[in-house]
Symmetry: C2
Subunit: 548 residues, 2 copies
């Protein structure tokens, strides 16, 4: 139920899509025309939206977000109580307390949002997981609106949606339309990968981006925590790893309490923290604090002084990995660990006489992918024994390593044809799959690159319905070669938002014009909430970013 | 005079260029090897540097920057007094005041930097201009170092250089090597273009970037202040221009006092502010507040409702422009105004019957570039009458408009061959020239794109020595389609630093390895001073950016 007048006001308040001829032409060159979305600034678009032209007001002096009487959740659920406060402040950044005289709420106002958790187990004190129910129903009416969800996870998503429905009407009055929304995610795994090895990311940066993830209904923080350049994870069992392997052992590490805080901050927003400890490649920084872990490379008959991937032929390697992953499995509560397994360079293994001998003994010939598989197999067994499931980069599948049936294969390589073929192969083998290839957001180009990001679809490949169901979702990846605290946030947002909508909304939500209009407003909302999300094109936000 | 030990310490303190094999390989892929520069973190590299291995210490409790006794400048020159305080704080971000007991300065310390202005006219209260003498001599010795310059402009450059020589030695002690530097810029015009029309840039963002410009010895802020999307310049004479043409008439405008503050802030750092008021194209926003200024476009026999470039056939146009540029010439003290003149679209002019008639009367046939030239010619005369010189985009030259001999032609179009040919043609015609084509920093690509930026040279074209001397310099341009306060600063720095060195240092300073090492440290210094300059590659700064 769309009225041009209403949304024209909304658009004016939030973002100016200029009307100059030349400027319009520029936009048209990009294949986008300027139309106001009937869905205002909703992002990602809910599955079912019925919006009426009836407008209600909200007063910062009297509006409340409260537990519904029927709700199985109450004052003791600090996850929800925190969320109520957070979203109240997003809606009313500068609300004043009501005076002594209690005025009657006018008929045309929403005085309360009641949050009703229907399951006996609210999951308030649990951790979100891949089977969490994130669905919700939102009914915006006067004087009372109701948000109904099975668990707290759906309630969090619904609170975000409610906050996105509020806009500034005439005279800056907070307004909301009578609306019915029924919503649920298309995919269960909607992630963002951040890389804290190529550059260290201060806690503050990680927390700010977790916050922005929640605004986009992302639910997985894939923490690529260590890699070749540095090892910032402070391990209680092996403190030498970060002592020697971090850029700096005090200023550039994540202590156990840092990690705990990040996990809790994420949990409060319905976000899982899936750590990645990538082996046997990408481990140069591990070698600094753990003697004999890496393979000594040879130059002719003698060691060259440099080191290759993890040494897969020593018992000490597996003893170390068992202890290390035992710790990791207790530090990170998520049911999954990402085990990496990508880009193993065989040159160093090939140069090493002990490895050559081992290859001979095993009858591997010169097929070093068999050696890699042997290593990975043992790591998978180690991690399985800690009762964790695993995600793994596609090479492990490509090399034919035997994996548990519930393993998730993470596809990241190739052009469109290649990754779609890989999705077919993986799902034909019965494995679950996660897509990232089209969403390597570290790769930048001039112009509105969010459009290509937006168009990619993880179920676009040849396969049966059963195969398509094995797609658990996707992840936007921001590898760290060229980003750190100085530029990560504007480079991630709103580009990752395009991925967020693809993974949450119905597969038929593909209209670039409608998306442009909503996304421009969504990015201004992120800016107003304090995140330096970069612009899509010329224009402005009513509240510009206040930092430098 | 290079000692590996010294600079190893320096590098460790400022930036870690990791030593992992894989990481090195990545760097090598980019064509860069990791070597420490013998010039530490100096950027841009001075013309002559003699650095000894003798190390002095500096104490924050006693070190002073003072006027030399012989200096023609004194306490009344607030430009220099401000600069002394600013640079003291860069060197000692957290210095404590000296206690009661005055200790004798040890023999191995620098206790004073004496700044000696040698000209009778220090130019302290003037504005920098294209002939300003920015040369200086710096002698770092114990107990007294001396910075000698003809005017305050050279002193400002020398203070920056002195601050870049200071590094943290063992135990964090501020250290500096005995050094002799004799320095001057290769080009007189070293600019950065910022665009405040496609997105409004808050004052704070402009000031922060002026500060960073000074650290890079840039000396021109080319303020592309208005354009099609918005008109944020608040004109005293024609307040309707911003009232109607700005994104918002209160929150998205530059008031006269804003402009004054920006000019003074820039002056204190030896930076000229050259405003651009681009006509007759790029003027959609002008038309909103100034009736009949733009050409009404026709669709068949009747006006289409949209407008084209400035209407060049009305007397009212020139009356308006005379008054407008009279104001501009008093508001902006610089001797130059940039008059634009680029990308005039003839379609609207062609559609308008009045224009067609005028073309006929003038005997222009269908050559609309003659109409454009007629307009530009009159604008140049108007601006000349205000005693200003002008810069102009290359199209004006290409169209054969008659210009005063001291006009500067700004080259921005084409590929390398094309812009080099244009530089040849412009200088063969005896005009001065400014290069920007290879330095459109709004264009981004994945990886270390600073290298291509760095390699371009404005004197690389076919021409005589006399022609080469007509190159006044260049400008890094950051057009605003995709940047605003959220991402402008990290996108500009340190990418613009590559342009800064090309324009300041000797033409033979071209070693990418040496540049990489110095630039990585220079970017960390910018971060430490509070500017979110983005990383060149994996690694870290001792002091990471503290914002989000």
């Amino acid at each position: 139920m769309y009225t041009a007048r209403l949304f024209a006001a909304l658009l004016l308040a939030v973002v100016c899509l200029a009307t100059q001829e030349e400027y319009d032409n520029d936009i048209l060159e990009e294949g986008i025309t300027l139309t106001d979305s009937q869905y205002g600034s909703l992002w990602p678009l809910p599955q079912k939206v019925q919006m009426s032209t009836v407008v209600f007001k909200l007063s910062g002096a009297s509006f409340q977000i409260v537990d519904a009487k029927e709700s199985s959740s109450g004052a003791s659920c600090s996850l929800l109580q925190n969320a109520y406060r957070r979203y109240f402040e997003y809606i009313f950044p500068s609300a004043r307390k009501q005076g002594h005289v209690k005025k009657k709420t006018p008929a045309s106002a929403v005085s309360e949002l009641q949050v009703w958790i229907t399951s006996a187990d609210t999951e308030c004190d649990g951790f979100p997981n891949v089977t969490s129910d994130e669905s919700y129903q939102l009914s915006v009416d006067s004087p009372v609106s109701v948000l109904k969800a099975s668990t707290v996870w759906g309630a969090l998503r619904g609170l975000e949606t409610f906050s996105q429905l509020v806009y500034e009407g005439e005279y800056g009055a907070k307004s909301i339309n009578r609306t019915e929304i029924s919503d649920f995610p298309r995919f269960a795994h909607r992630g963002v990968l951040l890389d804290t090895s190529r550059h260290f990311l201060p806690i503050k940066v990680i927390l700010a981006n977790l916050e922005a993830m929640a605004w986009n209904k992302f639910n997985v923080f894939h923490w690529h925590i260590v890699d070749d350049p540095s090892f910032p994870y402070l391990s209680r069992t092996f403190p030498q790893l970060s002592q020697q392997g971090a850029f700096h052992p005090y200023t550039h590490v994540y202590t156990p309490s840092d990690v705990k805080m990040i996990i809790e901050f994420a949990r409060l927003r319905g976000i899982r923290v899936v750590p990645e400890f990538d082996t046997p490649g990408h481990t140069q920084s591990w070698g600094k604090g753990q003697k004999d872990l890496l393979t000594p490379c040879y130059s002719g008959a003698s060691p060259s002084g440099s080191f290759g991937p993890v040494n897969p032929i020593l018992n000490t390697t597996y003893e170390f990995m068992s202890m290390f992953f035992k710790e990791v499995s207790t530090v990170f509560p998520d049911a999954y660990i990402h085990l990496g397994g990508d880009e193993v360079d065989f040159n160093c293994w090939k140069s090493n006489p002990d490895i050559q001998k081992f290859m001979e003994q095993q009858g591997f010939g010169t097929d070093y992918s068999k050696l890699e598989s042997l290593y990975i197999q043992r790591i998978l067994d180690i991690v399985s024994s800690t009762n964790k499931h695993y995600l793994i980069w596609q090479e492990v599948f490509d090399n034919g390593v035997k994996m548990k049936a519930d393993t998730v294969i993470h596809v990241w390589k190739g052009n469109q044809q290649q990754y779609q073929d890989e999705m077919s192969r993986v799902t034909a083998s019965g494995y679950q799959v996660l897509l990232s290839t089209p969403w390597y957001l570290n790769r930048i180009s001039y112009g509105q690159d969010w459009q290509a990001t937006y168009k990619a679809d993880p179920q676009d490949f040849n396969g049966t319905d059963a195969q398509k169901k094995l797609v658990v979702g996707g992840e936007a990846c921001l590898w760290g070669e060229y980003v750190d605290a100085t530029n990560l946030t504007p480079r991630l947002w709103p580009r990752a938002s395009a991925v967020a909508e693809r993974l949450w909304s119905d597969k038929d939500v593909r209209d670039l014009n409608d998306a442009y209009s909503r996304l421009a407003q969504h990015r201004c909302r992120m800016v107003q909430r304090g995140i330096p999300a970069e612009p899509l094109f010329s224009g402005y936000c009513a509240y510009e970013y206040k930092g430098v």
